[in-house]
Amino acid sequence: MTLTPVQTLIIIFMVSIGTMITRFLPFLVFKGTRSNNSYIGYLSRVLPYSAIGLLVVFCLKDISFKSPVYGLPEIISICCIIALHYWKENTLLSIGAGTVIYMVLVQFIFT
């Protein structure tokens, strides 16, 4: 441990507060206005799709296409996931196999 227990507790508290702000904010801001606001209604229908897109990019943000290994482990694993998910349509299988393939790639092939 680099920090003291009290400092660690403060960090946990801060991370918790930060998370809670982002989760509670929309419900506090839009309290009561929802039912007669069609713009917010529209956003709540389309945003989930955009948000998942953002999350995928967020997970892949550290890939570097300029230096070796040029993002190849990620690209290969994601292609496998897509193929597997279209073929078998089994969430667990796609996630599990995709992760194992990635771990093998970064541990043994693109080391």
Partner: protein, 240 residues
């Protein structure tokens, strides 16, 4: 009581993918924490009261550098800013959830959101308890995974390199699932495209907020272009 059990039974199958994902991720998190000298108690405390995977992973870097609470708060806000989107998306679904509402909002992590957004309770199942149990189960899996990882990390050591890809895999699968069940791909494409463009422009540590602004702007422009075609997200779409 019977009502709650019915809701629990209906909720459980939807959370199975998260069970696996969180046992993986939680275990990896617990192992990582223990490798930095934080025992299982700290890990569980974190997982119980924060319950946000990416923020907790990021928080490991706050714990291993100079003590700076304000930086920790700001980074958490940025990395979790996407939750604001989730909240807006669920304003309607969580409107009449009464006394369960604070916990439902507290537990609104990425995975819980993706299930709640894409799933409706079967007929005869209480809506509020259904969403409550999805949230509670996911929360428990996360804590359970953390405990396992914390214990495992203190007794054995093995190469976990690449294990965090499970998060990427999970989101990719959700993305494909949404893509297959929806004809209009514009929101998904907007999400990916705006994020990639902002990533290139602003770099990996600053692109989230610009991406969110760009996504909102793009969605707003497209809404004006064609108002009627978009269907609600809660038709038959499942994470599975």
């Amino acid at each position: 009581m019977k009502e709650k059990i019915t809701a629990l039974k209906a909720a459980f199958p939807h959370t199975i993918p998260v069970l696996t994902g969180f046992i993986f991720l939680g275990t990896a998190y617990g192992i990582l924490m223990s490798s930095k000298g934080y025992g299982v108690g700290w890990t569980v405390l974190f997982s119980l009261i924060v319950f946000a995977g990416s923020a907790q992973y990021l928080a490991i870097t706050f714990l291993t550098s100079v003590f700076n609470p304000l930086y920790a708060l700001l980074m958490t806000l940025i990395i979790n800013a996407r939750h604001i989107f989730y909240g807006i998306s669920l304003l309607d679904k969580y409107k009449d959830t009464g006394r369960l509402k604070p916990y439902l909002i507290f537990g609104l992590c990425d995975e819980t959101f993706s299930i709640v957004c894409s799933t409706n309770p079967p007929e005869g199942v209480n809506r509020n308890w259904f969403y409550f149990f999805i949230t509670l189960l996911d929360h428990s899996y996360w804590v359970l995974g953390s405990v396992l990882g914390g214990i495992l990390g203190s007794i054995v050591s093995f190469n976990t390199k690449g294990l965090d890809f499970v998060l990427t895999a999970l989101f990719t699968v959700i993305f494909i699932g949404q893509w297959k069940t929806r004809k209009d791909h514009k929101p998904a494409i907007i999400g990916v495209l705006c994020s990639v463009i902002c990533l290139v422009i602003f770099g990996q540590s600053n692109f989230i907020i610009p991406s969110m602004i760009a996504i909102l702007a793009a969605l707003t422009i497209f809404r004006k272009a064609e108002k009627e075609e978009i269907k609600p997200c809660d038709e038959k779409e499942s994470v599975q």
